[in-house]
């Protein structure tokens, strides 16, 4: 069992008389401080300069609409739950309430589906549509379990993080708000996060490569975003 003993006289030498007399401990400390005085600024000048959240960032939720990149079993889910087949631009939500079941605070969701009021001979007779989808974000922990439970990859996390508001009312997001947030996010960064079937891309990057303010803390350094594992490198890019 590896044990390393630490302590004064063990791995730390006590102060010598010269050090005490000439205040050498303070001098050394000052040297460090002065060295740091000439380093680059590492802080981000917040309101004028913002870092872009990482692509996996768990921000405000969104509800994705049908846009042709649904997971392959989307149609079978619709049939199973007797939902009216959505057209392009309509929500993917099938009111299965899996998100609510996976949520650590289930009462933050209010999800309701209602039957379509159409005559009996209509092809959509007896089918349901999503009526209510409310999320009370004041109770949300942003843990991401709902997005992992969603069978149609409808509910997602976006990179929106400014949630502050003056009233309780504005913390409750309705399905229209959620759809709008998702549309906006998908238009901006959808390609970065999801593949053609709305699954997470395998080559997601740890940070967006265009995020200049973040490099300040790393003193100008940015990873080259190569694959992590050697075995995938051999059939792709060469190691440098």
């Amino acid at each position: 069992m590896g044990i390393k003993k630490v302590g004064l006289n063990r791995n730390v030498k006590p102060q010598t008389l010269t050090e005490k007399l000439f205040f050498l401990d303070f001098m050394k400390g000052l040297k460090t401080t002065i060295k740091h005085l000439f380093r680059r600024v590492v802080t981000v000048d917040f309101p004028y300069e913002v870092t872009i959240p990482a692509i996996r960032f768990r921000g405000v939720h969104g509800l994705r609409n049908v846009d042709g990149t649904e997971p392959p079993d989307f149609d079978s889910w619709i049939k199973k739950l007797k939902i009216k087949p959505p057209e392009k631009g309509e929500t993917r939500c099938i009111a299965c309430k899996f998100c609510q079941a996976a949520c650590p605070v289930p009462e933050l969701f209010t999800i309701k589906a209602e039957k379509l009021k159409v005559p009996e001979d209509h092809p959509h007779h007896g089918l349901k549509v999503l009526a209510v989808f409310d999320m009370d974000l004041s109770k949300c922990m942003f843990c991401g379990l709902c997005t992992q439970a969603c069978p149609t990859d409808c509910i997602i996390h976006t990179d929106v993080y400014d949630l502050s508001s003056y009233t309780r009312r504005s913390w409750v997001l309705h399905k229209e708000d959620l759809s709008r947030i998702a549309d906006d996010f998908i238009a901006r960064r959808g390609k970065e996060k999801f593949d053609d079937h709305s699954k997470w891309r395998k080559d997601q990057k740890i940070w967006p490569e265009y995020d200049y303010p973040r490099t300040k803390i790393w003193e100008g350094w940015m990873p080259s975003f190569l694959p992590n594992y050697k075995k995938s490198q051999s059939n792709g890019e060469a190691e440098n």
Binding site: K5, V6, G7, N11, F57, A102, M141, R214, W218
Partner: protein, 579 residues
């Protein structure tokens, strides 16, 4: 997890005729002792050289429901430093009473207060059995099974917006006028007075609950003779959220985000402890994919560095070294960036799952971690130049508040506090969970047990963590992208396990498992009467809680200025002490 061997346990059974040895369904032996003989039996266990279970780990209660008689059962977990094994001892609390163990282990004092507060079990022989988290006069015992999870909403407390501005809030689904009970000022005064029934000196100084030096909402009562502390007690519970109660009412995977909010400084390590305990209960901990194990080890060690950096910054800040705070936060920010990229959150992370992790590493992750870890030892020696041999630092820390080996065993101290006192207690070496059995690192051990040693031990721990992370990076590079990062059961019908956690059932039985967190051993004791989607009882053995307890002893006879040094070197986080 090394439990007491069956031979030894059987030896106990033959020696004492009242001892009953049983084995739970998850394979842990436990010993049942009638409460009248408990003290006698424990004295033997503690002092006999063949057993020498002298280290106190945990002492708690299970509520078996109103219909059972006796209703409550005490559960004691002990550790034997000589033989490196654990034992669980159970004793039924007939007439809702149990014998107090403070004669044997002074560390049982707070555990018994907590059990009294939460379950209403009385301890005979306890020196001052008052509430631990709730205030005096609170009428309920919230962890009893008949107490509803939402509590009793009996105080009307409308929003000021509604009262002053006539805002229409009634009927909104996130608003209610009624609240659960709140303490009044008189209640708080009673709470304060009952904690210290006999004053020893003239002045009782209240430090906290809202003081920047206490790093959270801790309320210290210091009975002062001049500048010297004669007596001390601590009132905690201002951040008590009933995490154990919540755990009993939600699924296993759903509980992980709540563990984030216990020790929020090192939330990955909190996830880790819970996940390891649940996996061991399922019996799948050995079968977790290698890749997930190495990722978890790496992330846990990064989180340890992160936590220790915050500790170092605030500790130095409290003792007057202002620059340290800025320097350590710069390094911390880099780790936070890495966490954000890999897990999606900077602070309350929820990355680990029972069965692995929820996603693979994104591109560039190992590169970024490597870049940080290459640079980090240099930064660490910068910090050391500023502090370690500085004469003010030495004066404020050397020989301040010495904790002896005996204290470690008596109070169940763990983590860096125990190691600084010369006890090489480290679950990473004892249990070898995840990939810790395969990495090479040293346990830093102090000699004196003073604040200076605790400082040196934590600094060295950061170095060792950096060493572990480096090994993890090298090992992880050898995997391939297609290797699994989440456990797949051989028979999905028998064991339903998924990343989102719906339908996960844990078997009947019990399990205690923990991990070595930056703040000591965080253990989860999970008890199930039958296989269920919700646990019957989850006990969280918080390292910070027991470490904080020793403050009341170590501060006695020291000047008031040392309180800050001692508190900083013990380094509790209120989210974990209060739970």
């Amino acid at each position: 997890m090394s439990w007491i061997s069956l031979d030894k346990a059987k030896g106990l059974e033959s020696k004492f005729d009242y001892v009953k040895l049983e084995q739970s369904k998850t394979g842990i032996p436990y010993i049942e002792v009638p409460k009248e003989k408990l003290i006698e039996f424990l004295k033997f266990l503690k002092e006999d050289p063949n057993y020498s279970f002298k280290m106190f780990i945990d002492w708690t209660v299970i509520d078996h429901g109103q219909k059972e008689n006796p209703r409550f059962q005490g559960v004691l977990i002990l550790f034997s430093p000589d033989h490196q094994e654990r034992v669980i001892i159970k004793s039924w609390a007939t007439e809702e009473k149990l014998p107090s163990l403070i004669e044997l282990w002074p560390g049982a004092k707070w555990a018994e207060r907590e059990a009294w507060d939460m379950f209403g079990v009385r301890y005979e022989g306890h020196e001052n059995l008052v509430r631990m988290f709730m205030w005096e006069g609170y009428p309920y015992h919230p962890l009893r099974k008949d107490f509803p999870i939402k509590g009793y909403e009996e105080v009307e407390l409308p929003s000021l917006n509604e009262v002053e501005r006539n805002d229409q809030l009634e009927g909104m689904f996130n608003y209610s006028r009624m609240h659960t009970a709140l303490p009044t000022l008189e209640d708080l005064e009673r709470t304060e007075k009952i904690r210290m029934p006999r004053k020893k000196a003239q002045v009782v100084l209240n430090w906290g609950p809202l003081h920047p030096g206490t790093h959270g909402t801790i309320w210290f009562l210091l009975d002062l003779d001049g500048e010297y502390v004669q007596q001390c007690d601590i009132i905690i519970g201002q951040l008590h959220r009933g995490v154990e109660k919540i755990a009993e009412n939600i699924g296993y995977q759903q509980f992980i985000p709540y563990t984030d909010r216990m020790d929020y400084i090192a939330s990955i390590n909190e996830n880790h402890a819970y996940v390891v305990a649940a996996e061991k209960m399922l019996g799948i901990h050995e079968k977790i994919p290698e890749k997930a194990k190495w990722i978890r080890t790496m992330m846990a060690e990064l989180s340890r560095i992160n936590s220790h950096l915050l500790w170092l910054g605030t500790y130095a800040l409290d003792l007057g070294a202002l620059t340290m705070f800025l320097y350590t936060f710069r390094e911390r920010e880099k780790i936070m960036d890495i966490f954000e990229g890999i897990t999606g959150a900077r602070f309350t992370i929820n990355y680990f799952r029972i069965g692995g992790v929820y996603a693979d590493l994104p591109y560039g992750a190992l590169e970024a971690i490597e870049h940080f870890i290459e640079d980090f030892p240099q930064r660490l020696s910068d910090y050391e130049t500023l502090l370690t041999r500085n004469r003010i630092w030495l004066k404020r820390n050397k020989d301040v508040c010495v904790l002896t080996q005996q204290d470690v065993y008596d109070y169940g101290l763990t983590g860096a506090v125990a190691r600084a006192s010369g006890v090489p207690y480290d679950l990473r070496k004892i249990d070898k969970y995840d990939a810790y059995g395969e990495v090479d690192f040293d346990i830093p051990i102090g000699e004196v047990g003073d604040s200076y040693d605790r400082y040196l031990v934590r600094i060295e721990e950061m170095r060792q963590s950096a060493k572990i992370v480096k090994q993890c990076i090298n090992r992880l590079r050898e995997f391939s992208e297609d290797d699994p990062y989440f456990f797949e059961p051989e028979d999905p019908k028998k064991l339903k396990i998924s990343i989102d956690g719906r339908g996960l059932k844990l078997p009947e039985g019990e399990m205690y498992a923990g991990t070595d967190n930056p703040r000591g051993e965080l253990g989860f004791y999970i008890y199930n009467k039958k296989a269920a989607i919700k646990p019957y009882r989850v006990r969280i053995r918080s390292g910070a809680f027991y470490n904080l307890q020793v403050f009341t002893k170590a501060i006695i006879g020291r000047p008031i200025a040392d309180a800050i040094t001692l508190l900083s070197t013990i380094d509790p986080v209120v989210g974990e002490t209060d739970r």
